[in-house]
Subunit: 296 residues, 2 copies
């Protein structure tokens, strides 16, 4: 394994453990651990990972914190879709998705990864929020948090990564975003500056969500709120199965299916021609699923 | 419009109306109609269609019978994925999906279509069953029905189309089929013999399902049965969004999103590492989601 893989792997494992500990303290929901191994495209040892899962918790209806470090050959056709032509790939990263039960609490997703293909390497990652009920204060907090984090490195980063996030989580066939965005970067050059930044983002991630969680987790909600949450979770499924690069990467590199698809919401509703009632909070939410400046 | 498009369009409209009438008689569930029009890739009139929908019916939790006749230019990149290089496409067809509320009643899907690209044309289509509880008698009936229909034209058709169906509805990342298959064909040559066959399959389709529906629609079921049905509906979503050619065709040809995605089940459940209890009907069902000879 390349030394960069080892360096990143250490960071993501520590981040994952820290997140599960702090989430357990805050919610009492227990993360169960599954360790798994994989074979590469040609049947050799291809690394593995750890999946930490909450199922039907009191606050997290489902939660998954996946870490993996994989290496070996990938399918040559898929190799071409990455950055170079080499089928030799090494990758390590953490990905997280929490689907809270209470529709007042936004769904959160993050991913921090390092990928090496032949002698090329890069970072990818980001964090994005998917709320179901209006809460402008929380939405602004989330974006301001990431702006502050990134401004410490370069004030040009947040606007760029915010725009990339808006684009990445856009669902073309719906002409709307999955949620309210956040930050996203890919093919980021690997150097000491970017190492510092990636480490700071990954280790700081939970703070972007924790105070939102604590402010919203005990708020009361109605059956209608829940119904809208389940409906919007349908968009989450559409995005993840039709467009998400991480899901595609996992399915194409012989990843562990149950870990990859642990991102899907536990309960979902589809409805033909759903239109929110005029003046309802759901109609208001629909206006937020478009690119929007959340930092004043 | 080419005369073949008109000829097929007349058949599929009659088939759709007949199905909705007979389903209403059997279930009392009312199909509401939406007519829609589309623009082609370059903004010209591109035809349209009719979507007939049951939402939260007594027996059909959701049901969609779509007909459409579209024409005009498609995106050149997508054109290459069809049969020829011409961006001029005309297509007409009917597609149907019923998601019954009662897990004893299988989900049914069918599609009969005629596609013309430049001066090439072909038929595609088929019918497949997705059951949730064991009922070998019904599964054999469904396959025997299609065998008998096809044997009237050529005894080599059923084995071939049954195998194509098993392959088409296979979900590679799950290593299992969406349901128990049926028949499937694509790129079928257009001549008087195939016209007769396609018309016979389309007009006969409802009989393949009707007696299964009537035998199972009043059977009692448990919460566990329902829970397994919702879980398996997750596979339906995975297949439709990751692999289904019809869904892809619709999304890539500026189709009407609400009609295309009306195939998705109204309520779905995802669960990490679900394993059915030993000796349960759900464990038995899992053995049926593999290619199997249902006609003795």
């Amino acid at each position: 394994m390349h030394e960069n893989v080892q360096r990143m792997s250490k960071i993501v494992e520590e981040v994952a453990e820290d997140i599960c500990d702090r989430m357990y303290e805050a919610t009492g929901d227990i993360f169960l651990q599954d360790k798994w191994q994989r074979e590469d495209h040609i049947g050799n040892d291809g690394g593995g990972g750890t999946t930490r899962i909450v199922r039907q918790g009191k606050y997290l209806e489902s939660g998954a914190v996946n870490t993996s470090t994989i290496y070996g050959e990938v399918n040559p056709e898929f190799a071409k879709k990455l950055k170079g032509d080499s089928p030799e790939v090494q990758a390590t990263g953490v990905s997280l998705i929490f689907h809270p039960r209470n529709p007042n609490v936004p769904t959160i997703h993050m991913n921090f990864r390092y990928i090496r293909q032949g002698d090329k390497d890069w970072f990818g990652g980001g964090a994005d929020l998917t709320p179901y009920l209006p809460n402008q204060e929380c939405f602004s907090y989330f974006h301001s948090f990431w702006k502050n984090k990134l401004d410490a490195f370069d004030p040009s980063f947040y606007p760029k990564m915010k725009e990339e996030c808006d684009q990445y989580f856009y669902i073309p066939h719906r002409k709307e975003m999955r949620g309210i965005g956040g930050i996203f970067y890919d093919y980021l050059e690997v150097n000491e500056d970017s190492w510092k930044m990636v480490e700071s983002l990954a280790r700081g991630f939970l703070d972007s969500y924790f105070s939102i969680l604590k402010k919203t987790m005990e708020l009361p909600f109605t059956e209608e709120d829940r119904s809208f949450q389940l409906y919007r979770r349908g968009r989450y499924v559409e995005f993840n199965l039709l467009y998400d690069r991480g899901t595609l990467f996992g399915l194409k590199t012989n990843g562990r299916i149950e870990s990859i698809l642990a991102s899907l919401p536990p309960e979902v509703r589809y409805e033909y021609m759903y239109t929110p009632e005029a003046g309802s909070p759901y109609e208001e939410m629909n206006t937020y699923y478009q690119p929007h400046n959340w930092v004043q």
